[in-house]
Amino acid sequence: MTPLEHAWVLPLLPLAVFVFVLATGRRLPELVAPVLGIVATGTVFLASLGMLAATAAGSVADISVPWFSAGSVTVEIGIRVDPLAAVMVAVVSFVSTLVQLYSIGYLHGEERFRWFYGAISLFTAAMLGVVLANGWLLMYMCWELMGLASYLLIGFWYEKGDAPAAAMKAFIVTRIGDVGFALALVLIWLNTGTFTFEPVFAAVEHGSWAGPTLAAAALLLFAGAMGKSAQFPLHVWLPDAMAGPTPGSALIHAATMVAAGVYLVARSFPLFEASPSTLMVVGVVGTITAVMGALIALAQNDIKKVLAYSTISQLGYMFLALGTGNWVAAIFHLMTHAFFKALLFLGAGSVIHATKTQDLHELGGLWRKMPATTVTWCLGALSLAGIPPLAGFWSKDEILLSALHTDQYGFLLAGVVTAALTAFYMARTTFLAFFVKPGAHSQSAHAHEAPWVMTVPLVVLAALAVLVGLVGSPVTGYAFGSFLGEHAKAHAEVLLPAIAVGVALAGIALAWSSYLKHVPEPDRYFRARFVSGVLARSFLIDELYENVIVRPLMATSALLRRIDHAVIDGVVRAFGVIGLFVGGVLARFDRAGIDGAVDGMATSVSSGGEQVRRIQNGNVQTYLLLLVASIVVLVVVFAR
């Protein structure tokens, strides 16, 4: 056994922490839970450095053990350690370690402090399982576990407000996608007789599995990815998921879990490559999501909601990259995004921790009070905006170039537009939260810098948000791409990066002039009154921006948001409503029958309604009766 083949131990470390925290409960001294969690994920991170080194040297481990066999069928599960898995393990364990460190400060004094570490450990274990799995089956199981951990963290403050509903929504919406994943498992099994990646990819490569079932399997896998990665139209859960504790959001709903969908598609890429139309679907969904997320983020006044829609938008960017066939660019952006978005979320957490508010209009002027948070936040925001030489620039550039090289100008245009919008909303958020003069409702007055356990992760992440992009830049000879096994492509372009940076700078400038140069009244940009009078002349540029660009954008953004809420939530809700309606009709039948009992006809309707209603009467025996009836029918129909 090579050392790499022992990697199966890694997910078990955080899992052991989870079990331990669960079992000991309140008896555990308060600080033991974070120490255990950090030690476990820290160990995984150190191991992942070894994995990176080993896989860079070219060794790959792929081992399977039989899980169970039934008759002639043997189902195997196992792990695969290759450069892609090593990168993901490193990112996940690193962000998880920092988030846990940060949470010591953020959740200090929280009643379920230990439980948070249990849930984070469970999540980390599941995510490591997903990235280390060498087949879709184990991946699916860990994928669902991840969903459970996500549910637990969104509902962490289950006694408050919307948290239980948000947790439920996240669970159900992602489950819609997961049905696709499960069906994809069935298709893969039926067509290849295995769940392991390598034989399936070989079958696809040799053409022994091709045609519509392959495309269907790829699309169904993508449906799973859409649910987990909050892609249009299954993105509705992610903004609500912000009801959870901010560090949890940083880890799960920004940096890692939501990126698992991207990983799934990247990992299954041979399946997608074999049918270009599926790639097109992936790209189009990603594009829609990227632009839509960015537009909606413009109009958000909740600092976490901005970041949530920004995450949706950036995940769309990654799928756009996958759609152009460049999975390396997607994984590269996934990695840089994991660092700068975790940084931004933790920065937002620091702000929320200090001011107890998430509303941008109740913030402002924080840069005096919280210098460390401000500086690190700005680095993260610039990185997200794609300003060179920060990480986000390199990965975004890679995606745009790949759209250019494959002549997919629609994707390219959408990418550039999104880059501009991203720069604008990040600048707006930054200015409103940190730089404008605090308004009347501001809570910033008593803000103070966070304790060191919270600032250290910020600084570390900020350093990475600045530097990590270099691994995929010309400086290191595109080391990231060749590490993942793709040959470096010609990167002779200068014009496109220049345009991308230009639009990003323009976005920042626009935000600067709209929000910082002239301090806006709260929610002025939603009523956008045309200010009359001579003094207003000097605002002409602003008014122009406002009326020509900002306002239509805001309107579109508000409209999209409304569509978001009305249509997409509506569709989800419609199923419930249909159920209610049917129930209502049946109930009305019932009532009508009882009211008109004199009528012989009505009596029969009544008893009919009563019979139908009895199906849902809560009586276990009736359920059992239906079960037995179904079994009898099945036996009679299907038995010889």
Binding site: Q616, L624, L625
Partner: protein
């Protein structure tokens, strides 16, 4: 000569009677007891298969032992539930319990 099918049909009959009992009893206790009957029917099946189909090894018989263990565990828990139900509610007949009502 008594063959395998005799045992199987007898087990099927006992199973169906037990199933009828589970479906129609109003008393939780009777349901528990009827479940025991179901398990016994299955046991009879296993024992008969063990003797007639795979006589080389006592695999079927060992499964009977396992089922008996499960049955003992199940009946212990179920009776504890019956007692608790009896103590905490004044509901006697299980067709009156509708906490699962949708």
């Amino acid at each position: 000569m008594i063959g395998l099918n005799h045992y199987l049909v007898l087990a099927a009959l006992l199973f169906c009677i037990g199933l009828f009992g589970v479906l129609t009893s109003r008393s939780a206790l009777r349901v528990v007891v009827c479940v025991e009957l179901l398990l016994n029917a299955v046991n009879l099946n296993l024992a008969a298969f063990s003797v007639y189909v795979a006589p080389k090894e006592a695999v079927g018989a060992s499964f009977v032992i396992f089922l008996m263990v499960i049955a003992a565990a199940e009946v212990g828990l179920a009776l504890a539930l019956v007692l608790t139900l009896n103590r905490t509610t004044d509901i006697e007949a299980i067709d009156r319990i509708s906490a699962l009502r949708g």
